[in-house]
Amino acid sequence: MTALRAIAYHGLTVKGASDLARPPIPHTAFAKVAWPALPTGFAAQLLALLHQLEQSQWWPAERHARLQFRQLGRLLAHAFAWVPFHRERLAAAGYRPGMEVTPELWSRLPVIARKEMQSLGDALVSPQLPKEHGALLTDSTSGSTGVPLRIAKSDHVQTIWAAITLREALWHHRDMRLKLGALKRDPEGLSFAPAGRAHADWSAPFATVFPTGPATLLDSRSTTAEQAAWLLREKPAYFIAFPTLVRDVARYFLERGLSLPSLKGVNTRGEPVDPELRELCRRAFGAEVADMYSANEVGYAALQCPEAEHFHVQSESALVEVLDGSGRPCVPGEIGAVVVTPLHNFAMPMLRYALGDLAEVGAPCPCGRGLPVLKRILGRARDTLALPSGSRRYARIDMKALQEVPGIVQFQVVQKTLHEIEMRLVTRRTLDADDEAKLRAEVKKSLGDHLAVVLTYHDEIPRAPSGKYFDFVSEIPA
């Protein structure tokens, strides 16, 4: 039985010891002071933030909203003063400097679509940044479409990002003394298979604050066989990768009867996670998936709840709205467009930025956290199926059924026109007419009878430039 030791802690309530993720003892900056540690500089700042986050997670949603609007007040004043694009829009919505930001005013502010964002170029970048916010950093987003988006951030945005990164690890009870294995693209090109690259620690922000175990990195531009060999050799306790990479390697393990007893958790991001992947990881690794929803341009939007498969919006970092077709907030059970406003990016204010993703709003979580719930992150809106009626719907292929056709190594379903689907396949053997008929039928069952399905065979289906991979892609613009 879970101990119900609810304890008042400065007017808010935290759970008893048995329920709380227990952070390790931080690094100490003082000779001979081992415990409690006396951290300094950036580590102290991160722990000060973590301390706030550990409390605020239990606050009711209304209090989060109130503080978000207080923070938005500062951000809007800055955006109005320094970014002409925002000044115009804010003025049109009725905003005047010094005005309190209310939900009503907010709802009048138009949403910025991803496409618009791309065409804006540097128009959102503020020429002036409060000096304490640190240096201006520029970065470009994944560009899963191949059109990179240049993003400006301040050091301070990275500080908030780092604090929430620590929160995520603590939420999921990750033991930082153990080994971390990350499968991702190494921009320095030093992590190629078979060796990968060894790191003495988990690197920032983990190692900035806490003593950690070692880490190992393998470039994701490697084969599934190489990835599996790397996992078996390195025996990490935690495995970080895009969901589709996890899926491939988990299948590889299952097909060959391999096991990885060292693995305690799988950590995913970047692509949608479906219940099949979670089940696959349980079967292949005996490990649970902890997913997160983040985007380079906005930081963390939501983290998986430590006690459930849904997500908690990171209200301390971003205002996340889920809006229906007419721009109204969705209620629990409804699916809508994800619109994000990072609360601390004064370098490039993004006010009501529609990331292009869809999510389903969830009911308040029984875990007690007041952070709003996203039931599911459905991924990119442009990868929804365009219907002849002009509307679109979420496209999901039944993976289990596909597995009944042996020999499929990789697939991707692409909507070419309103009535035509291409199913791209990489196979280990030549499929016969029966197999092909089965696949066509499955696609129609998942997506609709009105569609013609053409099968094409490939040596490889490449990933997007970001390294992400999508099972379903629509070539009809959303």
Partner: protein
């Protein structure tokens, strides 16, 4: 819903323009909150684990003491200490207790000759503690940071409304008119927004204190334990009340259940008490919602030892022996504080921190002046600590205009030393008493183990 919600927490002050929330505090406030982050978790650890970590922290402290504190170099060597060794419970029990008289006699020899530079500047305070032996205590800035972080924990435990008004009656401020401060002061005010503080001098006439307090009408009152008794009696006699008062915070002396009852009866407020001492800082805080205390195990190893030197079991009382975990300027290893405490059962709140149910320590009577004034005796000990031969003292009022100074001393005081003692006491009490110095082999404790640093032996003693 598995959680009980009782209210809202406060957002720290932000040091960064545009950052209302979450706050990016100043570097010092960040360090304080980074400690809070740790303390918020460690309070729930099992007690055995807290104790393991205490010994992990004691290991570098003992090595430092061995190498840089002459007094401990000898003492640790005699106990068989070898640098680098693990500090086990067995080794610990072999280490002799440190008495106040030893600390007083050791002088510079009990201070480190090489404080790590990072630990910052040292500062000095003095105390006569619970048994009338005046000593001086040297602390480092690092130790003060930890001290402050415990003060902040106490605030968080008791969920005070920091926007409210506090009245403080202690040894500071202006005797006649009181003083006002815009904030609650450090460490709280550097981290969070707070309301104002009004302060009044505790050595002033009780009637004036009561009038001032009534006119201030505060939300919180902070003062010494026995002063609460004196003030409540004064308020009751005059039929006054403090309608806004939410809580009384006490320091300095033992709080008896009777004091809590009186406070509840006269002011309708509960008491939140703190057990602390100059030498070791905060020792124990009252548990939120209960009247027993939790030892601040992250800052001090507190042992309660029975007559044979064994750990007292729950329900038993013993002498309080403390080891400060972070004072590398003047290490206190197994220091016999001179107090008696009763050990409690583990607390139902779930905190793993040791429980003390009651303490017996310093007590004091009020002084009555020939003018008719009644005053709390707030003894500034810095001057007394400088009078070399004094090992222990007690001041007793034997007549309205006469004090008897009882001394356990290495030798009789010289006339100049007597003058210095006299001047210090007169400065504190505000009246030119006649003095009589007497020498004793021992100054006995009163019933229940209390030690009176000031004792009223008038036929009609002042209240308290």
């Amino acid at each position: 819903m598995r959680l009980l919600r009782t209210g809202l927490g406060a957002v720290p002050l932000s040091d960064l323009e545009g950052m209302a929330w979450p706050a990016i505090p100043t570097p010092l406030a960040s360090r304080m909150l980074s400690l809070q982050q740790q303390l918020a978790h460690s309070q729930w650890w099992p007690q055995a684990e807290l104790r393991r970590w205490q010994f992990r922290q004691i290991a570098p402290l003992v090595e430092h003491a061995f190498r840089t504190v002459p007094f401990y170099g000898e003492r640790l060597a005699a106990a068989g200490y070898r640098p680098g060794q693990e500090i086990t419970e067995e080794f610990w029990r072999r280490l002799p207790l440190l008495s106040r008289v030893e600390v007083r006699s050791a002088g510079a020899a009990i201070r480190s000759t090489a404080l790590p530079q990072q630990h910052g500047a040292t500062s000095e305070t003095s105390t006569s503690g619970s048994s009338g032996t005046p000593i001086k205590v040297t602390k480092s800035a690092a130790e003060q940071t930890l001290w402050s972080s415990f003060a902040l924990r106490e605030e968080l435990w008791h969920r005070r409304d920091w926007s409210a008004k506090v009245a403080v009656i202690r040894g500071a401020g202006n005797a006649t008119t009181g003083q006002r401060f815009p904030s609650w002061g450090p460490p709280l005010a550097g981290i969070f927004a707070t309301g104002p503080v009004s302060a009044f001098e505790i050595r002033s006439d009780l009637a004036r204190q009561a009038e001032w307090l009534r006119s201030e009408n505060p939300d919180y009152l902070l003062t010494f334990g026995t002063n609460v008794v004196f003030l409540c009696q004064e308020f009751r006699a005059r039929g006054w009340s403090l309608p806004r008062l939410r809580e009384v915070r006490t320091i300095g002396e033992v709080i008896e259940p009777e004091t809590r009852r009186l406070c509840r009866e006269v002011w309708g407020a509960g008491i939140i008490d703190t057990y602390s001492c100059e030498e070791a800082g905060y020792l124990a805080f009252q548990c939120p919602g209960r009247t027993h205390y939790h030892v601040q195990m992250e800052g001090v190893l507190l042992e309660v030892l029975d007559e044979r030197g064994n750990d007292a079991a729950p329900g038993e009382s013993g002498r309080v022996v403390v080891t400060t975990l972070h004072n590398f300027a003047m290490p206190f290893l197994r220091y016999d504080l001179g107090d008696i405490a009763e050990v409690g059962e583990p607390c139902a709140c779930g905190r793993g921190l040791q429980v003390l149910t009651r303490m017996v320590g310093r007590a004091r009577d009020m002084v009555r002046l020939p003018t008719g004034e009644k005053r709390f005796v707030w003894q500034s000990t810095a001057k007394l600590a400088e009078i070399e031969p004094i090992l222990r003292y007690q001041v007793a009022q034997t007549a309205l205009d006469e004090l008897e100074v009882r001394l356990v001393a290495a030798r009789p005081l010289t006339p100049a030393e007597e003058d210095a003692f006299r001047a210090a006491v007169i400065a504190n009490l505000g009246y030119e008493f006649r003095f009589r110095f007497v020498y004793r082999d021992e100054i006995p404790r009163a019933a229940g183990g209390k030690y009176f640093v000031f004792r009223s032996e008038l036929e009609t003693p002042a209240p308290g």
